[in-house]
């Protein structure tokens, strides 16, 4: 009997993705390579940091022979459970896109491709898309375990053995969860749910990790801190969970104990069973689910008459054209669940930023006056950098987010100048509020003097104008109207250049303000009157204000020229 499908069919369905990858590499220019090198460098640094952290903790644990084995096992269990959970969540979200809403699916779904082949190909795609990043960042963790192990190669062999099933099981389970959800709810509802739950999951994870103060592990004063830290994340280890089997295998490998082969058999057989079950489920539910994914139901969670009414009331005092653009932007923003996840992350970023200041060592407040105020000054740069990071996502994207509907603006009598200024004034207030929260609260925790607090507050106020002006202007100079996800705009070459420009801009502001801070600290140290520092401060702030006026006007003008010359 002829088989219903062959592995070659799966490879054939995957060829467009492989060709696209190859063609993108071929078409890459110098800027693409530069960007890849930069992101590669950041990834490497981050990986080194992860490796150093785990290495230090494991070496430290190694000094206490009676605790070493149970604690290492606990850390391994936490890592395995964490990876498994993240992979499962990532696969659920990715499967929604690869299995149900990808544009090439209409061609595949209408062609005589056997369903198991389609399922196999899309499962492979889901697995790669959702797992590569987890894999990259888990490598330094396992490397740290290997180099601190009495049997490093045996441990790495154990990692190699568990890797395939540990990736396949969450991919198959994630796909099954998505298929089940789509067979019950509509695709749009599932998307809204996934976006909200996914964002909350990430935020909670970030907050949980941060509030456990992982820096304690780099300077451990007590072995109990480590146990306490990991037990905060440790879920009850069930003997039925694949992550528990993986942990036992890794622990055996690390201690050079005999491999529990039965657990390895369990891992592989579970992976195979999950794929087969997924295929059965796809046979039963996929066609119906794909059909439901085409249905366009009105949004439920993303529209609220009350919110709309409030927005309209808030926008009422503004001039008609600005009001129209403002309402359009705000409503589109609030109704887009992909934007919510970014908002949640932003909130987590602010909380973590401020929390870092609140958990400074308790003896910090007794540190010198000089140190406190120097930190407050340097915090200005840090807050500026955080604002740039927020702006690259929400301000730099402001023009590109018009998307392919930009023809409406271009063919209307609204001038590009008014359009860009409208974007500027829409983005400025939220960033101003954020900047003041970041500086005032962190300066409060630092115990900075009133002079430094006022200087930082006024400076960051000016800097906000510059960051928003450069953001809107550069967003217009490097527009990207065709995108699938807004994060692609922020991650584009223009976004990268924007980060470089704003970082340099903040450095110039810090340079301009270094002199008044120096005069102030010197005067305080010597007990001199503050007349001279105040005069220098006024002149410095004037220079910062002038710099920011230029940072608003020039990029907006250049952006306007670029948009006018742009052919859409």
């Amino acid at each position: 009997m002829r088989p219903e499908f062959t592995p070659r069919q799966i490879v054939h369905i995957l060829t467009p993705s492989l060709f696209a990858l190859r063609n993108r590499r071929r078409a890459a220019d110098r800027v693409d390579f530069l960007r890849a090198a930069l992101f590669g460098g950041i990834t490497l640094l981050f990986s080194l940091g992860i490796f150093a952290g785990f290495y230090r903790v494991l070496v430290y644990i190694g000094q206490f022979s009676e605790f070493t084995a149970p604690l290492t096992q606990q850390i391994l269990a936490t890592v395995s459970m964490f990876l498994f959970t993240v992979l499962l969540a990532s696969n659920v979200v990715t499967a929604y896109s690869t299995q149900y809403v990808s544009e090439d699916l209409s061609l595949l779904a209408s062609s005589p491709v056997p369903l198991p082949a389609l399922y196999g190909a899309r499962l492979t795609l889901t697995l790669f898309q959702s797992s590569w990043m987890v894999l990259v960042f888990s490598f330094p963790v396992y490397l740290a375990f290997a180099v601190t192990s009495p049997a490093p190669f045996r441990f790495l062999l154990a990692v190699a053995l568990i890797l395939a099933p540990l990736l396949i099981i969450p991919a198959a389970l994630g796909t099954m969860i998505t298929t089940a959800l789509i067979s019950v709810f509509s695709a749009r509802r599932v998307r809204e749910l996934l976006m909200m739950v996914g964002a909350l999951f990430v935020v909670l994870l970030v907050l949980l990790i941060r509030t456990q103060q992982p820096e304690r592990l780099l300077n451990p004063s007590s072995i109990y801190d480590i146990g306490e830290f990991f037990s905060a994340f440790h879920a009850p280890a069930s003997p039925l969970l694949p992550s528990t089997w993986a942990t036992d295998l890794l622990a055996a490998g690390r201690q050079a104990e005999p491999f529990p082969w039965f657990l390895l058999f369990l891992l592989y057989s579970t992976a195979a069973a999950a794929v087969v079950l997924g295929c059965w489920q796809a046979r039963a539910l996929y066609r119906r689910g794909y059909s439901r994914a085409q249905e366009a139901l009105p949004a439920r969670f993303t529209t609220s008459p009350l919110v709309d009414r409030l927005l309209e009331l808030a926008a009422r005092p503004f001039e008609l054209r600005f009001r129209s653009l403002l309402l359009k932007d705000l409503k589109s923003f609030l109704r887009d669940t992909t934007q919510w996840s970014q908002l949640f992350l932003l909130l987590a970023l602010v909380v973590v930023y401020l929390y870092n200041f609140s958990v400074l060592p308790s003896n910090f407040t007794f540190a010198t006056f000089y140190l406190q105020n120097l930190f407050s000054f340097l915090n200005l740069g840090l807050a500026g950098f955080v604002l740039s990071a927020v702006a690259v996502r929400f301000v730099f994207t402001a023009v590109s987010i018009e998307g392919r509907a930009f023809w409406i603006i271009r063919s209307s009598p609204l001038s590009l100048r008014d359009f860009l200024w409208s974007k500027f004034w829409t983005a400025l207030p939220p960033l101003l509020i954020l900047s003041q929260i970041l500086t005032l609260v962190s300066n409060h925790f630092l115990g900075a003097s009133r002079f430094m607090t006022v200087l930082a507050s006024v400076s960051i106020l000016f800097v906000c104008f510059g960051i928003v002006g450069i953001g809107v202007g550069m967003g217009a100079m490097f527009p990207r109207f065709r995108f699938e996800n807004v994060t692609q705009i922020a991650g584009s070459t223009g976004g990268l250049l924007y980060m470089i420009v704003t970082t340099s801009f903040i450095a110039v502001v810090l340079f301009l303000e270094a002199l008044p801070v120096y005069f102030y600290l010197s005067a305080q140290y010597r007990g001199d009157p503050l007349d001279r520092p105040l005069l220098v401060t006024s002149l410095s702030l004037l220079a910062v204000a002038a710099l920011n006026v230029a940072a608003v006007i020039l990029p907006l003008r250049w952006g306007q020229r670029r948009l006018a010359a742009l052919e859409i």
């Binding site: 366009a296 008609l320 409503k331 023809w407 409406i408 271009r410 063919s411 009598p413 859409i568």
Partner: protein
């Protein structure tokens, strides 16, 4: 009402539109035809202000598009071939937005939006987000948006694409009504039956150059065609395999 004066557009070495000159009178429905890649959409995009001409002038309702872009665009309604819209707005909100950027406000606008939604038969979907609309519904919504400020000039690229027979009939009726009121319509289309049935005059463009211009009778004379069908005239004038095929087998 519409003047194109020696309009050209070059993409590097390639000439998309070559010294195109046209004059469309008030109240006229002008059909702009040509094979794929002839330069129709490029011309239309230049008229809508989406592309800048390499040389030449575009005058809409007496305003030079380059010198007085805001005034020229205020007189223009544009309907593109593909209706990309703000998907997260409802139909009602989208029309409010368009009215706003054309400087229209108040109770009159609300009334006008109701009328237009009735006209394009979208009233019952007015509160639904555009992302849930079909292609045809989006196309009808774009039409409503283009009418909102009562433009003197309407530039339309392929209006019948993706529309059902009812939608096609609706649009034909709307276009006729607007021309009767003195509005000028410049319409590019591949649907030759529609062009023959509706247009007062027709221009045919080939390789960026206007090769024929006039009413149906005038085009028939220019093409020296005995058959008074636009399809025959068009294929004869634009040449190629299509014409040789119908010459061999007219049926």
């Amino acid at each position: 009402m519409i003047q194109l004066q020696a309009l050209s557009k070059h993409y590097g070495q390639q000439v998309a539109v070559d010294r195109l000159s046209l004059d469309v009178k008030p109240g006229e429905l002008f059909g702009f035809l040509g094979p794929n890649g002839a330069g129709k959409t490029t011309t239309i995009k230049m008229m809508a202000g989406l592309l800048r001409p390499t040389s030449g002038r575009i005058v809409l309702a007496g305003h030079d598009l380059e010198r007085e872009p805001e005034k020229a665009k205020a007189a223009l309604g544009f309907i593109p071939d593909r209706p990309f819209l703000y998907e997260k707005l409802s139909a009602d909100e989208f029309l409010q937005f368009v009215a706003g950027i054309y400087g229209m406000n108040g109770g009159d606008v609300t009334r006008r939006i109701q009328e237009l939604l009735d006209l394009v038969e979208l009233r019952e979907f007015r509160g639904n987000l555009i992302e849930s609309f079909s292609h045809g519904m989006k196309q009808r919504l774009v039409m409503a948006a283009s009418f909102i400020h009562e433009p003197k000039v309407l530039v339309v690229d392929e209006p019948m694409v993706g529309l059902d027979p009812k939608g096609t009939r609706l649009i034909k009726g709307m276009f006729r009504e607007r021309c009767r009121k003195g509005e000028t319509i410049f319409m590019s289309t591949h649907t030759l039956e529609v062009a023959q049935e509706m247009c007062d005059r027709i221009g045919i463009i080939l390789k960026g150059q206007l090769i024929a211009l006039g009413s149906m009778d005038e085009l028939q004379q220019q093409a020296e065609s005995k058959i008074p069908a636009l399809e025959h005239i068009f294929l004869k004038l634009t040449g190629g395999d299509g014409f040789r095929e119908i010459e061999r087998d007219p049926v």
